[in-house]
Structures are given as structure tokens and as C-alpha cells.
Subunit: 596 residues, 2 copies
Amino acid sequence: MSYRAPLDDMHFVLEEIAGLEALAQLPGFEDASGDLVESILGQAGRLAAEELAPLNHSGDREGASLQNGVVRTPKGFAEAYGHFVEGGWNGLTLPAEWGGHGLPYAVGAATVEMWNSANIAFALCPLLTAGAIDLLHAHGSEDQKQTYLPKMANGLWSGTMNLTEPQAGSDVGALKTKAVAENGHYKISGQKIYITHGEQDLSENIVHMVLARTAAAPAGSKGISLFIVPKFLPNPDGSLGERNDLRCISLEEKLGIHASPTCVMSYGDGGGAIGFLIGEENRGMEYMFTMMNAARIEVGIQGVAIAERALQQAVAYARNRKQSRALGAREAAPVAILEHADVRRNLATMRALTEAGRALAYAVGGAIDRSRHATDADTKALARAQEELLTPVVKSWLTDMGCQVASIGIQVHGGMGFIEETGAAQHYRDARILPIYEGTNGIQALDLVMRKILRDRGKGLTAVTAWLDGEVAKVTACSDAPVAALAADLGAALSAVEASGRWLLETAGEDLDRTAAGATPFLNQLGYTVGGIFLGVSAAAVARRLSTGRGDPAFNRRKIKTAAFYCANLLPYAAAEAARVKGGASSAQAFGPEDF
Amino acid sequence: MSYRAPLDDMHFVLEEIAGLEALAQLPGFEDASGDLVESILGQAGRLAAEELAPLNHSGDREGASLQNGVVRTPKGFAEAYGHFVEGGWNGLTLPAEWGGHGLPYAVGAATVEMWNSANIAFALCPLLTAGAIDLLHAHGSEDQKQTYLPKMANGLWSGTMNLTEPQAGSDVGALKTKAVAENGHYKISGQKIYITHGEQDLSENIVHMVLARTAAAPAGSKGISLFIVPKFLPNPDGSLGERNDLRCISLEEKLGIHASPTCVMSYGDGGGAIGFLIGEENRGMEYMFTMMNAARIEVGIQGVAIAERALQQAVAYARNRKQSRALGAREAAPVAILEHADVRRNLATMRALTEAGRALAYAVGGAIDRSRHATDADTKALARAQEELLTPVVKSWLTDMGCQVASIGIQVHGGMGFIEETGAAQHYRDARILPIYEGTNGIQALDLVMRKILRDRGKGLTAVTAWLDGEVAKVTACSDAPVAALAADLGAALSAVEASGRWLLETAGEDLDRTAAGATPFLNQLGYTVGGIFLGVSAAAVARRLSTGRGDPAFNRRKIKTAAFYCANLLPYAAAEAARVKGGASSAQAFGPEDF
């Protein structure tokens, strides 16, 4: 159950797919030299492997607990968090003026993957903090930034997101938590559920970002405001002041991520928790959306992270477990199950999906960096389109993929995979939250189709497919003939995406419900296609490296095998999803409520 | 979390797909009139819904426990088992001369589905007993049958299967448990793992079927003998005698089926457990194979059962949970999520897979009945080919399907799906054992390709595809035009299966390892295709019923919608799997052990 950060692939993807060298030319990223990034990822890999990974299984078994309002995380978590804070990992991508290191989001993505591979329940605390930092950095007042950002960047204070209420899940606009203005602040009262790390014993203060409704607010999502509601009110000198009127009233008993406290939070039982408005009233949802892309990509990365961990564990098991002779062998001696065709195929599937997922996630990470930092308008516009369109794909396709890979990981273990002690089952349980939180995958698909494609009448989609056409051209141009041969299937898959896109746009005019029914298959079609294109581009890049003798030849050759495997074994699902978009939607519509 | 047996669909499938009327004409099944079957399934449905289903969630939470060698099942299990025994459900398909009811296996399949939908951990006890009954009935001596069968048919005594040892999982031939002949019996010693209901407090005696190796036995699977090793040695008068030298030394802590004790069994710690040889020495594996088809079909039915339960739970949730306005609606009032296109699609997917799975499983159940009871040689030969070829498909495709449907069930619940209290997560955890036990799904695919297709050079496959061609023709001939239109896709999918079969046969001569790498995709291709054909045939049957005014029109119309949905949304995966068979195998082969 050990973990080793896949630094070779991470560096490869950052360089060849996310375009790290070009990112380091952008204003604000001057420090992101290849050497520095290598050093940082090396350090992160050690922390992940040596401190966080060993606590993953024990943390799952022990779980978080609540007693008398105090939440205890499992043994070792608080100490590990201390080291995480010492390393300054929370503020990696925040500008230096606020106590961060000013590194590109793409580089941060690699560290996020490591924390989550090592210990997803632990990593959720910094993941939520990063979201809160993003919000404050984008929309907080100068004063609020000065009060909270440095403490959150170093991790002494953590952050949470408080959106969901029992009646307001996917429909955030239905929330009822109240905010009453009073003496320059607000009194917050209401109940929030599913608050990840809403209470814990890791950080000295917890800065809750709470969505609530002021008295005169309009109904629905246009009447929501965003508040900072800290557990301890900060004194003017930055020290911890009075305990705020909020508490964790229960923890959910969950399928997985047991070490991560999922809290029911109650605000204002004693008259009202003191909250500070961010920006203006009624603009809370708008502010939330500015950080949502980053948060959704991070959840997608959690999918890659669990897939990588499950892959490493399955490979280790398959290498050591001996069972049955090799096919057609005369010797009766059993061989490692790694040698059996079906197991090899399972492992190759796990690897191909994981590496395609990593490439896609870091690529969109790079797009976020360019959309925020590029000075050239065209670059910025394309990056914006990439970020907008591919974020829901990263969130959904990679989290479904994480579940799938974790399930294959169990299968490789045979009977041992079903025994909790082995640890394979934990990945399967932990992964299952990913398609649900931060907007269910169904919501992501609707976001992709309704907001990102229909709203601009396909303009963004056209920009992205034109760019992907150029990526396929890189594969076509590869001097290695077997790699270049992959381009035909990739190009066909991309054309099919364009055709599905046209169908969605046409259908929307006639029957929006049918378009909605086609959203999930379309998202999957796009995912399988883009994942394949990135692996094709990767194969072309390693072919170049092989011809110039750069890099580890074993890594380079394996990357080509992985791309070929993907095109033959996973790209066919893109065609299946394409058929489902068009043909499937109307047959789904045929069902009325009375049919269930 | 309630359960209601889907009697309408069960009766429909038994009649239209399994051919119940024709089965009742076969010698031995004279009693299986439609009225009797209806009465029996009705009673079974009540027991499942009223007694077993309410213990499913509590049983999962409490789990089985071991203290001082005694295994306790959760609260209520022993009482429910008592009622199960009183109902005579264990011996449903055993001939009356041994205390059974002599009903067709296909009818038994419907009851097996109910027990497992209601409470899979409970149902595993009778499931294993049924396997042991099968073995004894087929291979036991007259004396052994008289001693054990009546007690097992009424369920006072239960049965288990003891195959696996730590070094002998998929490779059963590697087992080391010893059997030493002595005074007309054998002394058994060794350790067995993963023994389901190996020890419990439900039945008064447990009859272990144990594979072991005698002193002079040849190596591998040809040197394995099968023994009856009862927990209590029966006295000549049938009463319980001396306690045998065997014990449960630990229970596995598992991902799911917590209420089902999975035992590590130790035999012969006190000098040797007394065992009685079944049949002849060294023929144990051969005997096991005679019951394996039935056991594997039952595991496939467990997949259908969990899918049905997950579907019922998801539908109930989606009907009650209100969230977000309807797409394009003016009113702000939230609607039941059942009304949202993406949720409806998820539910339709669950239903289509579940109903296709039920049709496939009961159809193969009918084939088992015909292969055992038909008097006509051609019927028998075709039934035998159907049973042989489709059993691994039932086991694998339906268990993967069960996992998939349970996962969609979680997704429909959103955040609530991840909370254990809801119960959706239990189905997801419980289902995950199904692709593993009774031969992993990878082993099933190899069984399909290596044993069932290559061994007779495709003869059986040709017989089955010719029969399926006739089934597609029934769809083509349907007077309902939209139903008849489904035949084109179904026919194309069947042709693609034939093409894949030819490829497997051709490739086997050149490179057996490549054939093996194509086995799993081929099994999936066959599964998606056969599932579609059965739903097509079902649609044609309900079209006939609609035209004659027979049956519930809502049921009939829904069946047509389900078939159309399947063809548009799930049949495309058959084409994807077809591409993976041929193109995928060689790219999987490219990976060497050094690549992982």
C-alpha cells in the first residue's frame, strides 16, 4: 500500500502537454523555472510518500470522530498537517504578496494529485482551503485579504465551503440560511450539510465561506450573498479572538473518505454567528462561480490521483501474486499474474486511463494559467474557451474514470480485493464521492451543454475543436509511422465530436429536453476523444525524444504503447457515446414519470 | 429501502423468454403449471419483502461476528432462516423423492433473484446449500443422498463449498489440503479460505464440500478429490452425532456482504476431520464442474437481484426528492428529480440493464432445464450449447452490470448516496464481490473462449448464433413497426459477434495469448448483444399482447420503451467491445512485465 509520486510522467505532462516552459514566460510566473519545479515536485513527492501515504489506510480504519462538539481526526493527521504547513504547501499558487509562492496552477495540479493519491481524506482539508483562498483573493476586500490570506496561505487557518442545505443540493438557489445586517457585519443563522473539514483538530482557525440570504434578497440564486464566518473571530492584531456562534452538530457516516469529517454545521444557535460580507450583497453565486472551475478541476485531479494509487497497488500485487502456469507453457510452475493476458489488459487499461486523465487535467490547469496571466488576447481567449469547455469534462470524466480504475484495481486482486485489509477496497469507496460532490457529474454535463455550448451558440466549442485539430495534426506529422497511424482514429473521433456538437445545437432549438438527455453521453464522448488526443500528442513527443536520445527510453517506449492501447481499447467508447447522444436521447425521453 | 418482488416482469420473462409452458411438458416438471408457479412466486415474494428485506440494512450494519469459535449472524437472521426452512425453499428444484418440489431451475431462478434482492448476505446460505445439494444429487452414493439430501432440501442442514486456499485461488489445482484414507473414510487436514457461511447459527448442521488431495494423487487439478465433511457427524438414525474436527478460525473483514460470515476454516487441528469421499478419488474437479454452471448462473442472478433492488430504491428516491425547476419551466417550484432528463436517463439505464439481465439469466435457466430434462436429442443438444456458452456471460456480464447499476443508484441519490444510512451504498459494496467469486470474470471470459469456443472449433457458438438469428427474426416479423425496426441493429450486432468469433478461432492458431487478451471484450460484446436480442424478443411479445389486449397495457408499453432505449443506448457498447476484441488484443500484448 505504499505510494511513489509518478514524477517522470508528471514532468513529462507539465512540459509537453501543459506547456510549462511557455507558462514560465508569463508575467507573475517568472520564478517557475524547470529546476525549481523539479525541486518542488520532488519535495512534495517525498512528503506525500513518506508522511501522508502511510496514514491513508489507518485513517480510513479509525475515521474522524465527534465528541462534545470536538472533531478528532485519526492518529497522525495533526502531526502530518503540521509538516504540511511548515512546507508552505497551501499557498503554492497564491502570489507572493499574500504569502504564496506564485507558481502556475498547472504545477499546483501536480502537487494536488500527490496529496490526493497519498491520502485523499487528508488532502481535502487543503483542497477546500485553496478554494476559500481563491475566493478571498478574487473578491475579498483589501482588509479581508490582509486578515485572512497570509494565515490561510501558510495553512495555520483552513477554509471551508458552505453551500448545501437539506433542501438545497444541486439547486443551491433554494438555500435558506439567513444573514441579518448589524453594526457593520451580519448575523448568520441556519444549518449547512456536507461541510468537508467543517470542524477538525488540524488548523487553529477555520474560515467558513458561507452562502446565505439577506432579508430583502430576491428569491433563487440571485438573492444569495457570500460571507466569511470564522470559527474564531480574529483580533485586530491577527490573534484569535472570541469563539463564533457556530458548531458541528454531527458527522456523516459515509461510504468512504472516513478520515475526512463531513459535518452538519449549525450557525447562530446562540443568536447569530458573526459573518463578514464578501463584495456586494446578492452576488454570492457569481463569486462562487469564479472559483468553481479551479475547484472542479481539483476534484477531477482527485480522480486521477485515486486511479494512480489504485494502479500502483494493483501492479505491486500482480507482480508478487503467483497463480497458474503461463498460457501454453509446459512448466507447471505458476507465474506472476502480471503475465496473464487478461490481467495485463486490466493493468494496461488502468494505466491508459490514468495517464490520459493526468494529461487532460494538467492541460486544463495550463489553460487556467494562460487565461489568467497571458498578455496576448488571442491566447487568453483560446485559454478561456479551453478552461470553460473542458472543466466539466475534467470533473466528470476523470471522476468516473477514477471509480472505474479503482474497481479494476479490486478485480486484479481477486478475492483479496474484497478484504478491507488489502486496501484496494478503500480506493473504490473513497473514489465514489468524486462523481457526486462539487456538482454531480450530471450537473457538469448540463453545464457543458447548456452554459458552455448553447449559450454562445457553439463558438467556444468551435475554438476548442479547431485547437484539437491542430493537436491531431501533431500526431499526423510524427515521423514514427506507428504513432502517426494513430492520428486517423483520433481525427475521426474529433469529427464525431463536432457532429455531436452540431446535433446538440440544432436539437436545442426544437426540444431542449432532448438536448439535456444527450448531455452526459456527449461529455463522455468528448472525454474519451480529448484523452486520446493528448495521449497521441504524448506519443509524438516521446517519439521525438527517442530520436534525439532524450529521457528514459523505457518511459518513452511505454508511452507509445499506452497511446496505442488507448486508441485501440478506449477510443471505441467515444463512438459508442456518440451513438448514445443522438439515438439515445429521444428513447430516454419516451419514459414518463409513470413508467418508473 | 423496501423491496417488492417484480412479479409482473418475472412471470413475463418465465413465459416469453424461458419458455415455462414448454418446460412444464418435460418429464419431471409435470407439476410446474402456471397457476402453481404463480402461487409459489407470490409466496416467495412475500417472504422476501416482509421478512428478508427489512433485515438487509440492519444486517449490514451489525455484521456477522466470531467469538470463541461461534459465529453469530445479525439480529433476526436466525428467525428468518427458520421461516425460510418452514417454507421449504431450499429444495425447490430438487426432485420430490429427495424431499424437494421438483420445479424447473428457471422457476428457482426467480426465487433466487428475490432472496438476493431482499438480502444477499442471507441468501448466500441457501445459495451455497443449493450448490452442495446439486453435487450430492449428481455424484453422491445412494447412502450419502439418503443421509444428507432430505435434511439439506428442507434446510435444517446447510451446505458450503471449500475450494480456495491461500496459494490456490483461480488455480484450484494448486490446493494442498490432505485426505488420508482410514477405516472406510478419510482424515482431512488443511486450511480453506473464503468459505461463505462456513460457520453460522442458522442451521443445525453444516455439510462442507471439501476439495482435498489424497496421498498418491497426481499433481494439479487431476489429483483432487471431493469429500463430505459435516460439522456434526450424522448418526445412523439421522440425528446429530459427534462434533467433527473442523472450526472457523477467523472471519474476513470485507467491503460488503457484512452479514454473511466469510470464514477461514481449519480442518484437522485435532488429528483429522472425518470426511466421506464422493464418487471416486481424483475426480473432484470433474464433479465440481457439473454444478458450476448452476452456481455461476446463480451468481449472475445475484447481479440482477442487486440491480433490481438498487433500481427500486433509486426510483423511490427520485420520485420523492424535489430539486430545481423543470427545464424551461416558468414556475420556480422544484419538481421531483425523476422529471429531469439526466436522472430519467439514469433510471432508464438501470431498468434496461436489469430487465435485459433478468431475461438472459432466466433464459439460460430454461436451457439448463431442457439440457437435463428434454427427451428430444436436438432440443437437448441446443440447450446444452446455450447453457455452456452463455453461463460465463450470465456470470460476468450480469455481475459487472450489477455493480454498474448499483453505482448509478448512488448517483441518483446525489450526496445522500454516499451516506451509509441511505442504503444505496450498501448495494454498491455488496455487488462488488460478484465479479470476483465463483470464478473471477476474467476466468469466465477465458472459460468462454478457451473451453466453450476453441475446444469444439466454434461448433457450439455456431449453434447458439443460429438460434439467436431465429430470435432476431421474431423481432423482424413483429407487426408493430417501431419494434420491428429494432431488428436491424440487433441483427448487425449478432453478425459482429459471429465475426469476432471467427477472429478468435483464427487467431488462436497463430497466437493463443492474443486470443486470451480478446476474451473479456468478446464476452462483453456477446452480453450486450444477447441482452438486446432478449429485450427485442420481449418487445415483440408485448406488441402481440397489446394487440390482443392481454396483460397490463402500462407494463406492455413500458417494455417496448425499454427495448428501444436499450438498442439506442446500450447496444452501441457491443460495437465498442467488438472493436476492442480485434484491435485491442495486440496492443495489450505489447506490454511486457517490465512496463508495469
